[in-house]
């Protein structure tokens, strides 16, 4: 009898625990980790053609076109290498911007710029990551990802569609915002909207994923699909300008060699970047 009671109790306890595990919402750390992975780290490597339209409040447009190659090199969701080959406008055509991104907060990224007219490989001092990327409303950090360890994360709301996470910088003096809120799709873990609040807690900047597509790829000989943002827009509510970014010709796991992210290919870009 005692044995039976014991068994019953055990079953109940185990059952409850299983039940609890199934229904428990992921922790906020799990959410931001997965979102970071989805936004910046899918596949081993990837390629995309990018058209960027920078539109000021008088609707004057400047355009940038480039091909971006990316390769994950470090531990899971850690270091990465980026190769950005500019195609237009004319004054930056054939310029290459290369970054070896370091996930460690203590280590600065390594950056290079190749100027074809002078055949010059220039080393660029790692700078403020919250500086405009090629004069657009996107910042370096928007393009290559903000380190998760630089913010505290708080799950403020769970809606039918989104996990809503509020992020507060640990070193507020290093950034221009006081916090930002990210709306993360519950199914795909894609960040769909980011809202940045200034030091007076006024919303001043938003980034939206306008279009997400399922991109087919192969991973370890298996067919996989990676949800991928193919259109996004950042709006600067203070200046009234916005930048639209459209991605096309997206490919994952194309086997980019490590060599591509070296001086040899800065001086003569790989065909992956030129096609």
């Amino acid at each position: 009898m005692k044995k039976l009671i014991f068994l019953l109790v055990m079953t109940a306890v185990l059952g409850l625990r299983t039940f609890a595990q199934e229904s428990a919402a992921p922790t906020v750390e799990e959410i931001v980790k997965k979102a970071n992975h989805t936004a910046y780290y899918q596949g081993f490597d990837g390629k995309s053609r990018v058209v960027m339209n920078i539109i000021d409040k008088q609707e004057r447009t400047r355009s940038r076109e480039f091909v971006i190659l990316r390769k994950n090199t470090g531990q899971t969701d850690g270091d990465q290498k980026y190769f950005v080959y500019f195609q237009s406008p004319a004054d930056v055509r054939k310029m290459v911007f290369m970054v070896h991104k370091h996930a460690s907060v203590d280590q600065e990224d390594d950056r290079w710029l190749y100027l074809p007219n002078l055949d010059l490989v220039k080393r660029i001092a790692a700078g403020d990551k919250r500086t405009s990327f090629v004069g657009s409303d996107f910042l370096y950090e928007d393009v290559s990802g903000r380190n998760l360890a630089e913010d505290t994360h708080l799950l403020v709301q769970t809606t039918d569609q989104y996990y809503v996470v509020k992020n507060v910088p640990i070193k507020p003096e290093t950034v221009e915002f006081s916090s930002y809120t990210v709306f993360i799709d519950k199914k795909t873990y894609m960040p769909m909207k980011m809202e940045f609040y200034d030091k007076d807690n006024v919303l001043y900047r938003t980034i939206e994923s306008i279009k997400v597509e399922q991109i087919q790829a192969k991973e370890a000989d298996q067919e996989v699909t990676y949800p991928t943002v193919t259109q996004s827009v950042v709006k600067d509510l203070k200046t009234g300008s916005r930048t639209e970014m459209t991605f096309s010709d997206i490919q994952y796991n194309i086997g980019l060699s490590d060599d591509i992210f070296t001086e040899r290919y800065l001086r003569r870009p790989p065909r992956e970047a030129m096609r």
Partner: protein, 424 residues
């Protein structure tokens, strides 16, 4: 000379390795061979005036209308590039044409690149200071305020690049010596030692330039390796002084033999990028400095540091030292004219600020030599009005205590310029 032949052999065999064309399923044979040709270029108007009266030059420092055409074709088996400039020049009072680039590039093997033809070449770590980069510079264009692109004159050369795990190697063979575009007196006045005064259009520099193909040749070598993103390099050069560094007894300027051996390192230091470079200039025709008509050997040193100071503001500092060897021999054999110091120290400072979504750039580059007591300032304002139209204005300001020192000799060439460029 022996070393040259070793490199000649390397080059010979490399050509033998050749390029292999890949199979391609296209329509016509032409299309199979060439992908589309990209056509680009720009049209530019540029004008500038001296801000001081120069008795030996026109008031105009630069006045030209220029069009550049740029054709390129990238194919699996190789790339082609053509870039040519045509311009009307009111200072020289003539129309002119120059092929800036005309080359073929191929990647015959995983471990090798090959580029043949007229090409612009750059290596080394200095910012507008060159120690181991012995490729031709166009100082004339630089000082009169043409686009910085023109500081680099093209070389007619073959560049072989080899990539191995141990290190990467670049070998550049120039069959016929490509000198710098030095100051001739046509566009810029300069210190003329035999006249003991500044001179210009009244006293062109006549040179006796080595010009025998495959005999008066140049070899430049770089061996480099990246270790944890610290870039190390060793350099070698066997050729000639790039600007006149000697004088024949009859008064023609010459380009004596020069060999250069050097090394550099570049990488992250604190929040910025640090670089250091050293070069030994062996004046091969005057090994111990006894010939007063030929420049002595030199040691050149450079250290530099660049950092982002604030958002969109970058600052850079460099210290450069040119040290004449066999200085006592130089003093003993000095025959009139102002004597130079053994050491020439130069400090440079660069400050660049980007504004208006990085469309407006303000920059200032300063050379200051405490030993020569002279200064060269290069302020520039560049604005991209649209994606195709840009305007810029700037100046080249020289001054100093003595009329013969490197920057000070150009004092009367101090100029301001402005340009508008339409790119397509």
């Amino acid at each position: 000379m022996k070393v040259k032949w070793i490199w000649m052999t390397v080059i010979f065999f490399s050509i033998g390795a050749g390029a292999v064309a890949e199979e391609n399923d296209g329509a016509s044979p032409w299309q199979q061979l060439f992908s589309s040709v990209d056509v680009h270029g720009f049209t530019e108007l540029r004008g500038g005036y001296r801000i001081r009266k120069d008795p030996y030059q026109k008031d105009m420092s630069v006045m030209e209308a220029r069009t550049q055409l740029d054709l390129s074709s990238y194919n699996d088996w190789g790339d082609f590039k053509y870039k040519g400039d045509i311009w009307g020049d009111l200072v020289a009072e003539q129309g002119d044409y120059e092929t800036r680039e005309l080359w073929f590039f191929t990647r015959p093997a995983d471990w090798m690149d090959f580029k043949l033809g007229r090409q612009v070449l750059t290596w080394g770590t200095g910012d507008l200071l060159f120690l181991n980069d012995l490729f031709p510079k166009d100082w004339q264009s630089f000082f009169i305020g043409r686009d910085t692109e023109y500081l680099k004159a093209p070389s007619d050369a073959a560049k072989f690049s080899f990539f191995t795990d141990a290190a990467n190697i670049d070998v550049v063979y120039t069959p016929k010596f490509d000198s710098d575009r030095y100051i001739t007196g046509q566009y810029l006045s300069y210190w003329n030692n035999s006249l003991s005064r500044r001179a210009g259009r009244d006293a062109y520099v006549y040179t006796d330039k080595p010009d025998r193909c495959f005999r008066d040749d140049e070899i430049a070598l770089r061996i480099y390796k990246n270790i944890n993103n610290y870039e190390y390099a060793l350099y070698g050069y066997w050729g000639f002084w790039k600007s006149p560094a000697g004088m024949t007894p009859t008064g023609s300027a010459t380009f004596p033999d020069l060999n250069v051996y050097g090394a550099s390192v570049r990488g992250q230091v604190a929040k910025g990028i640090g670089n250091a470079e050293i070069a030994y200039y062996e004046s091969a025709d005057d090994q111990n400095g006894k010939n007063p008509l030929i420049s002595n050997s030199e040691l050149r040193y450079l250290v530099g540091y660049t950092q982002e100071i604030a958002k969109d503001v970058t600052g850079g500092l460099q210290y450069y030292l040119e040290q004449m060897l066999d200085y006592n021999a130089y003093l003993r054999h000095l025959s009139g004219g102002p004597k130079r110091d053994r050491d020439r120290h130069v400090l440079t400072a660069r400050l660049t600020k980007l504004l208006m979504n990085q469309n407006l750039s303000l920059s200032m580059f300063t050379y200051y030599s405490p030993s020569d007591s002279d200064v060269y300032l290069r302020p520039n304002i560049h604005y991209k009005a649209t994606d195709t139209l840009s305007v810029e204005t700037g100046a080249n300001i020289f001054f100093g205590d003595h009329p013969h020192t490197f920057f000070s000799q150009f004092e009367n060439n101090s100029n301001i310029y402005a340009a508008v460029r339409y790119s397509f």
